[in-house]
Amino acid sequence: MSGMLIAIGSLTLIGLTLGTVLGAAARYFAVKEDPLEEELKAMMPGSQCGQCGYVGCAQYAGALAKGEAPITLCAPGGKVLIEALSEKLGVVADLSGLEDKGPEHAFIVEDLCIGCTRCVRECSTDAIMGANKLMHTIIIDACHGCSKCVKVCPTDAIVMVQYPVTLRNWHWPKPVIEDMQHRRADEPQALSAE
């Protein structure tokens, strides 16, 4: 009998002690940062292009976490990011006004480039090579399509172009099946729901 009491007593004691320690730790060592903000920051392109109107990606993520900014502001992130954000935040985005042109990269029309290096300084990912009075060119692998360089170019030598479909990135399209039976099965359900 006393053995049982000792067992119950000691386990209770251990439980209470550990519980107190954990409780204290949760209170005193708590991380103040909003975990949501961190998660959103990780989703951002991280190129700090500032096209959303905020200073950088972290600030936009902060505004998103507080619910102060619409989720459609990030240009480099594109439709993919908007969809991801909409799922994360549970916000329904109005995509109707937004035309998704697919991912793009900048391209310098070499005949028009005067070598002013404005775009070189503007690029936040060092994707433009060039020097004074020498022709510039874009390193496509480093370009994330923020189009900031397009805006600063004095001769309109930079255009945004779509990535070409090549053997490397081609993949099979989604199969389209004339699936009459599925549709017939769906319709009565839709009616009964109404």
């Binding site: 190129s47 060092d126 480093a142 099946i177 699936d179």
Partner: protein, 503 residues
């Protein structure tokens, strides 16, 4: 020897008799050869020739570049007409950079590397270098550069070289014919590869529906105690690397791992023969045996085709079409891909060209899934095609990925058995393409994040340095105005060096 069962699989009509009794014939040199820079997995080769150059047979015309790549050689002597974009043998029908060679009809060999006199005393590097130099890729269809697979012996402990002669795809008979006609060359190549890999054993797996090949190969290996031929049951997809390894050794390759992690390296029989040619004679891979078959081909045949021959010329050599082909397939009917055009050339990975009639492809509209579970039973990878397809249909690719769609190797067994004719494997090909694209995008955005961070740090440092310089100069009174270097300039130079580091 005891064999191990493999999961699932199907028993389609093999229809190999159309070409299996036809001895290999040599295709006459066509009027032009189209040699794509990329005929393999990895980076395209770098062009070494220009318009108007005269080349000899076996001369390297494009060199491998990067870690995974293979070089290309002139399949005959002649003049380089041009280097331009030509339709690739690919379902998209997109073009790729291709060297066009006009044969001069003399078919003269150029200077070839010296044969390796005794490969069994040569070190592994000599053999691997020779294989790499000869542009040899996996000839079973995947076209992975073989030299890289032969280097595996350095990193992993291997005990078996498995030669894949299963040829489980219906119609295809090219490996069967090569085994019947060139057994000694295959076995010599295999022994050289085993020596380079350091594997004590060589096993040649052949499906039981090729009795002559089994007999010839068994006879040819009788002189070598460490080489054996094993007849494996007729069951599609026995020729898949993972499944053949499992059937013969009982070792199941885990997802995202290679058979080499289990101590087994698999090469195709035709690849072994190419290694024999490269090591014993210094000859690069410039021709391969292609099965031309199908109901719409007038004279099905096994043709020794120069790499780069146009498919239209090859079909013409086989008597042309006897009926309108509903689909022309590159490879076998199960895993092969439909071709958009016959203007594309034969490449190193082309095992067969099938022209199939309407009856052969049996194209019907899809019906609703009746949840019979046949696809789950036959899936040789133990996946659940019915569930994956349902999620993909609703664009829920993440869930499909969790269910293992990336482990599917598109053998097509599920599509084959589906009584409702749902294009299951098409869904998986689509999903795998999209998931791969997303993965690439993710990698790119990660790299861009690093680039942006590096730039921020650099700009901060530059500003810091400027401030420090200014503070240091202040006491020295207002001497000459500081040499104002535009901030962009130093940035560019740094950007250039960083770019090189990142590349």
């Amino acid at each position: 020897m005891k064999l191990f069962p493999i999961r699932g699989g199907i028993h389609p009509e093999y229809r190999k008799e159309q070409a299996s009794e036809k001895a290999i014939v040599v295709m006459p040199m066509p009027a032009a050869l189209y040699i794509p820079l990329q005929q393999h997995i990895g980076a395209p080769a770098e062009v070494l020739v220009a318009e108007g150059d005269l080349v000899k047979k076996g001369q390297m015309v494009a060199r491998n570049q990067g870690a995974v790549s293979a070089s290309q050689h002139a399949p005959t002597s002649g003049r380089i007409k041009t280097v331009t974009d030509v339709t690739a043998p690919h379902p998209s029908g997109l073009p790729q950079t291709t060297i066009i060679l006009e044969p001069d009809g003399r078919d003269e060999w150029g200077e070839l590397p010296e044969p390796i006199p005794d490969p069994f005393t040569a070190d592994a590097h000599t053999i691997n270098d020779r294989v790499a130099q000869s542009g040899i890729v996996g000839m079973g269809g995947a076209a992975f550069p073989s030299a890289i697979k032969l280097n595996l012996g350095e990193q992993k402990k291997l005990d078996i070289l498995l030669l894949n002669g299963a040829e489980c795809e219906p119609y295809l008979t090219c490996d069967d014919r090569v085994m019947r006609e060139y057994a000694d060359e295959i076995i010599d190549g295999a022994r050289i590869m085993a020596h380079a890999l350091g594997t004590p054993r060589v096993v040649i797996g052949i499906e039981q529906n090729k009795p002559q090949a089994i007999a010839t190969m068994t006879k040819a290996v009788s002189a070598f105690s460490n080489v054996e031929v094993i007849a494996v049951p007729v069951q599609y997809p026995m020729g898949s690397e993972r499944h053949l390894v499992q059937a013969i050794t009982g070792r199941e390759t885990p997802a995202l791992k290679l058979a080499a992690d289990l101590g087994v390296v698999v090469h195709n029989v035709a690849t072994a023969r190419a290694v024999h040619h490269a090591v014993r004679f210094g000859r690069p891979l410039v021709a391969r045996v292609v099965t031309v078959s199908g109901g719409a081909i007038r004279e099905p045949n096994n043709v020794l085709t120069p790499i780069g021959a146009r498919l239209a010329d090859l079909v013409e050599f086989c008597g042309g079409f006897s009926a309108r082909p509903e689909s022309v397939v590159n490879g076998g009917p199960m895993m092969g891909q439909p071709l958009a055009s016959l203007e594309a050339p034969v490449v190193k990975g082309t095992s067969g060209i099938l022209a199939l009639t309407v009856e052969e492809i049996n194209d019907r509209p899809a019906n609703a899934c009746i949840r019979c579970g046949s696809c789950v039973t036959v899936c040789p990878c133990g996946l659940s095609p019915v569930d994956m397809a349902a999620f993909i249909r609703k664009d829920n690719l993440d869930v499909a990925a969790k269910l293992g769609v990336m482990d599917c190797f598109s053998c097509g067994s599920c599509s084959y058995v589906c009584p409702s004719h749902i294009p299951l494997v098409h869904y998986f090909n689509y999903a795998k393409g999209v998931l791969r694209e997303l993965e690439n995008d993710r990698r790119k955005s990660e790299r861009i994040k690093t680039l942006a961070e590096v730039r921020t740090i650099r700009i901060e440092k530059a500003a810091e340095a400027k401030r420090a310089a200014l503070a240091a100069r202040k006491p020295a009174a207002d001497a000459a105005p500081s040499g104002n270097v535009p901030s962009g300039n130093t940035g560019e130079i740094k950007a250039a060096t960083e770019e090189k580091v990142n590349a």
